[in-house]
């Protein structure tokens, strides 16, 4: 239907991000920031960085989730409005990476909240982050 198509197009064209550090080593955070800097400029794709969960569509999580942060991550996710998507940036956020088995780590964002896209890499490069976001959008477009 035309209206559905329009809505889908708008969702694909305008993903607003919320960045959350759930216990990362800083590597992915730097790269996420670098993706918004003049060289990579994510705003080309209509991406804006928002500061409140209510306005955001995509939750960008970096880092293996530490025990202290798990409850907060969940709360933030619950505050977001549907439809919402979660992108796990970096190997730690995907699976815990090298921190798997450490006592204060929950081994990945998907242990706490559902994840739509995984961007591997340690640290995920800005190019990979852009690619991951684009693939998420592509998947939305097609299905």
């Amino acid at each position: 239907m035309a209206l559905e198509k329009l809505v889908k197009w708008s969702r694909v064209s305008s993903p607003w991000l919320l960045h959350f550090n759930s216990g990362a080593c800083n590597g992915c955070d730097i790269e996420t920031l670098a993706a918004l800097m003049p060289r990579f400029d994510l705003e080309r794709f209509g991406v804006l960085l928002k500061s409140t969960p209510r306005h955001a569509d995509v939750l960008v999580c970096t880092g293996a989730v530490t025990r202290q942060q798990a409850a907060r991550l969940k709360r933030i996710y619950e505050q977001m409005a549907e439809p919402k998507f979660v992108v796990a940036v970096g190997a730690c956020a995907c699976s815990g990476n090298v921190f798997r088995g450490c006592y204060s780590v929950l081994e990945g964002v998907d242990q706490v909240i559902p994840v739509n896209a995984y961007i591997p890499g340690c640290a995920a490069k800005p190019d990979a982050i852009i690619d991951g976001v684009a693939k998420l959008l592509g998947a939305l477009k097609n299905g």
Partner: protein, 323 residues
């Protein structure tokens, strides 16, 4: 025929449809300019050079879940965005964009429409305050209170500034003021201080950097809109864009000589002149940092208001001299 004209006026130009399309275009221009000033590209892939980006944002927000917080005053929370949007749309209708003969005083152009448009443009600020209040959230409440504080700061300079061209032209009707300056283009230069004050006050009214204190992301998260999501947030964003267009249109009508020449040339003049104002607004946003609220208030009263008063005095003396 007149009926048809009025319907066209209400719904197409400069009514609903035109204001919607043009305000998204203006937002795109604003974002592109801001990005260019920061050495970036801005939106690129949504439409040609990202021109459809604001529309995509709008449609996406319309289709999103609409959360109403449990603690919020639900009726007020839901009503406020519609009220605010209505007021700016009505203000848009008052812009003298069609050629009006002095004899034909319609519902949208009358003696005193200047005062009405100024009031209608002030209404959204009250709506923001109510929105913040109704949300029952700490950030929203602080944001709302800041909106009101700001209102007291910029509203007086704004009124004083728009008084000057009106006094000069000796009319309270925007079409007449514009016609007066079209007849005497050099007199536009007299109002240069008032023009500056009006542009700065408009920036404050639109709550953009350096006056984005009410919804400073780093301080109060999303300000009055913190709890708003989905289509109500979309309405607020649209409202801000339309407010920018109408405000720029008002300044263009008063200070830049209006939009002469009938339907088509008038339309072109409208676009060109509002874009000039928008360019100034975007540049101001790029090169400044946020002020603190008391700095904003003292800036308004120490500089903007006296400057506007000075302008008024100049205009009154000149008027006496010229007659």
């Amino acid at each position: 025929m007149d009926i048809l004209k009025i319907f066209l006026y209400l719904l197409v130009y400069p009514g609903l449809l035109f204001l919607f399309v043009y305000s998204t275009f203006v937002e795109w221009i604003d974002r592109k300019l801001y990005a260019k000033f920061q050495n970036r590209m801005g939106p690129m892939y949504t439409g040609s050079h990202g021109i459809l980006q604001p529309i995509a944002d709008f449609v996406k927000l319309m289709a999103k879940e609409d959360i109403v917080p449990d603690k919020a005053d639900k009726k007020l929370f839901n009503a406020v965005p519609i009220l605010a949007l209505t007021s700016v749309l009505t203000a848009g209708l008052l812009l003298p964009v069609w050629h009006f003969s002095d004899a034909f005083q319609s519902a949208t152009s009358f003696q005193g429409d200047l005062i009405v448009i100024a009031y209608l443009l002030a209404l959204p600020s009250f709506a923001y305050f109510l929105a913040g209040w109704a949300s029952a959230s700490m950030y929203s409440a602080i944001g709302g209170v800041r909106v009101l504080t700001l209102l007291f700061a910029y509203e007086v300079p704004m009124f004083l500034a728009i008084l000057s061209p009106a006094v000069m032209a000796g009319s309270w009707r925007m079409a007449e003021i514009a016609a007066y300056y079209q007849a005497n283009p050099w007199y536009l230069l007299i109002n240069v201080f008032a023009f500056a004050v009006a542009v700065v006050a408009l920036q404050a009214k639109l709550e953009r950097v350096p006056f984005d204190i009410p919804h400073a992301e780093t301080e109060v998260v999303g300000g009055a809109f913190t709890e708003y999501s989905g289509r109500k947030l979309a309405m607020f964003r649209l409202l801000a864009d339309i407010q920018m267009v109408v405000g720029a249109g008002m300044i263009a009508a008063l200070f830049l000589g209006g939009f002469p020449g009938g339907l088509i040339p008038g339309f072109i003049w409208f676009v060109v002149k509002t874009l000039i104002v928008v360019f100034i607004l975007a540049a101001m946003r790029s090169v400044t940092a946020r002020l603190r609220i008391d700095q904003m208030v003292s800036f308004s009263w120490k500089w903007l208001a006296p400057l506007a008063l000075l302008q008024l005095v100049i205009v009154i003396f000149l008027k006496g001299y010229l007659q």
